[in-house]
Symmetry: C2
């Protein structure tokens, strides 16, 4: 797995500045597959959905796609009828420039909600964007979809498919409005490995559940988020079905890519200085384990304590207590890395060691409920003054 | 209603420094009623409960009380068997010094979780505390229970009970770990008006539901919180029952006192600079209205935007969308004070007026879902760098 731009046979990419962002940074990106690709997607469960999300949800029913047009700097959400027709126009003009049907073009936007999309800027920039399409420009797309992200997020993995080397690559953007239940970022993935629609959809859902649905930065869920995957079959393998022996290998490699991207999103959480992997063990059910892990991961008091290198485990146990899961205080053990901070609900006086552990950038927090055999992991980050500063002044 | 210390016939109060807080500020308080008072209480629903909470929950079953001993600077939570016996000793030593049964003494603690209570300091300070009891020292108690609070919170109201003037007074502490569902602060209320146990309990639950259960600062729920009310009958009125004509008058005055205290708690939210009253109207059910209001009130992105005077209503509508309530984007209106920011899901371009409104300390945010006739209010505050600074370094 590496974070450098990679070539995925049969795909080309481009990213440019269309002048949507005031900063002049790249804000318009295009992905094109030379063949019609099997396409699967998952979308925000927010009841308020941006116009491009609505259009993409309609189009995913065909399980086909050939291009994705993405802008940053404007979410095209809560923009009424005009927003919807702007998003439609984005896909139509893209389709025309590429010489394909607009039904094969997905649209995606990210940025400020509630402002009209400057569609004329997109219209004007499209010819140059199409001209710049190149197989080696995945990183340009990863950069052009950034908002408050501080680095482009790319991950790829190669797997052996009956003697041929197939590639799965993905890019993502995150930074704010990150909470569990998907719907929290943009992610686009591409593979040359041929996969049947149902198998691709199933592998995508599994990968998202174990990665993007397990991260939290601020518990705010966006109106724009989506994860799309295209499989264009350029590898010319026999298409993988859910019952193929290769399905598990493909799904697991895809999960590796999404987990890697999810981790980068948390590392790059707005203002974050630390990455915290919270594992809840000894739960009666996996649902219980997830609930407790998310309750701790979303606690502002836990997140600020971690930022301040303050081994205040009382806040951790309080968040366990209000998670809604029936727990027994006298059975709870808490570990920071391998150091036991709490034994059977009572502190072990390891505060000084814990303070040193909290100086690290990567922290493992383990909570053992001693109530069963199920476990779950959630990734989160600390909460800092910088998060406030970034978000107090984002539209201005 | 006023915030100055008041006299409530038949009660005396004291607050001193027992040396629990490093700062040397007052940290031990006592309330004594000359008669055994009818007593009602509500307690944290956190599964992890501090030792004094466990003891007080046991004692409230008798519906009687005569004294409350409260310390700040240490929560006596997650302190195991020793913590429980320390809390018992607090009530026993207090009972002995006052010459009453320990079953009539309630205990309450607030502060850092997981550290042993310095019971020897409390033991040593008790004689002086009892000696200092005075009818005019309610404010001392309000100060001694503070943790990160910046001002003492007192509210009182006088009501006419068949020609006699009765008093209801309350004190509270809040500041952090504040989220809906009670269990978020300490509140002690006292009245000389005689009220029957069931009526007192019912009036307290109603008052808490409409005040402390409607505020949120950081969505963290404490292990220690409780609201107690004592009615000692010093007014010598005929005891109010739930079917008395006076019940509604009493309950409504009590609700006024708790709402006033709840508002002070939010105003004094850690690092808060603004008080935001969120009203959701036009909901199908009150539960829907509350869910939407809390979703918006807890959104870190909304709270940081308000702090930054940023009229980013997209964050508000996104939080409405992920509240879990079935809403129709095209029916949503949003107002800041009386100015319509969003009409039928689309912005009205009143950003400049909105920015001026956000310069105020008190802000009214109204969300009309246009789906029904139910409404609900929630109070919240903005989220600032100071909240982070306070909470990143609290135990150190």
């Amino acid at each position: 797995m590496n974070r450098l731009s990679v070539i995925i046979p049969g795909y080309s990419f481009a990213g440019i500045s269309a002048g949507i962002k005031k900063s002049g940074a790249d804000d318009l990106a295009l992905v094109f597959s030379e063949n019609v690709a099997v396409t699967a997607g998952v979308f925000t469960i927010n009841k308020i959905k941006a116009a491009p999300v609505k259009i993409s949800i309609n189009r995913i029913a065909s399980q086909k796609g050939q291009a994705i047009i993405i802008n940053s700097g404007n979410a095209n959400a809560c923009t009424g009828a005009r927003g919807y027709s702007d998003a439609e126009e984005m896909t139509e003009k893209t389709a025309k420039a590429l010489g394909i049907s607009s039904e094969l073009v997905y649209a995606s936007s990210t940025g400020v909600i509630g402002r009209p999309l400057p569609i004329e800027k997109i219209r004007k920039a499209l010819p140059e964007l199409v001209k710049k399409l190149s197989p080696s420009a995945l990183e340009q797309v990863a950069s052009a979809i950034m908002t408050t992200d501080t680095f482009a997020k790319i991950s790829s993995k190669k797997i052996n498919i009956k003697g041929k080397t197939g590639t799965i690559a993905g890019i993502a953007k995150g930074a704010g409005m990150i909470c569990p239940n998907m719907a929290t970022m943009l992610c686009f993935m591409f593979t040359d490995i041929a996969v049947k629609p149902r198998a691709l959809d199933s592998a995508l859902r599994e990968a998202v559940e174990n990665s993007f649905n397990r991260i939290t930065i601020d518990n705010d869920m966006s109106t724009n988020d989506m994860a799309l995957i295209m499989s264009n079959g350029s590898l010319k393998n026999t298409s993988i079905t859910k019952s193929s022996p290769l399905y598990r290998k493909f799904a697991s490699a895809l999960s590796d890519v999404t987990y890697d991207l999810a981790k980068m999103i948390v590392e790059d959480g707005e203002g974050a200085t630390k990455l915290v992997e919270i594992e809840v063990k000894g739960a009666r059910t996996e649902t219980d384990a997830k609930k407790v892990a998310r309750s701790v991961a979303n606690s502002m008091l836990v997140k600020t304590a971690i930022y301040g290198r303050d081994p205040n485990w009382g806040r951790i146990i309080a968040a366990v207590g209000y998670s809604g899961v029936d727990i027994n205080e006298k059975e709870i053990d808490i570990y920071l890395n391998k150091v036991k901070l709490v034994n059977k609900g009572v502190g072990t006086k390891k505060e000084e060691i814990a303070r040193n552990i909290l100086a690290n950038k990567n922290i493992a927090l383990t909570i053992d409920l001693s109530a069963g055999r199920k476990s779950a992991k959630v990734l989160t980050c600390d909460l800092t003054e910088k998060y406030i500063a970034i978000n107090a002044h984002y539209t201005t």
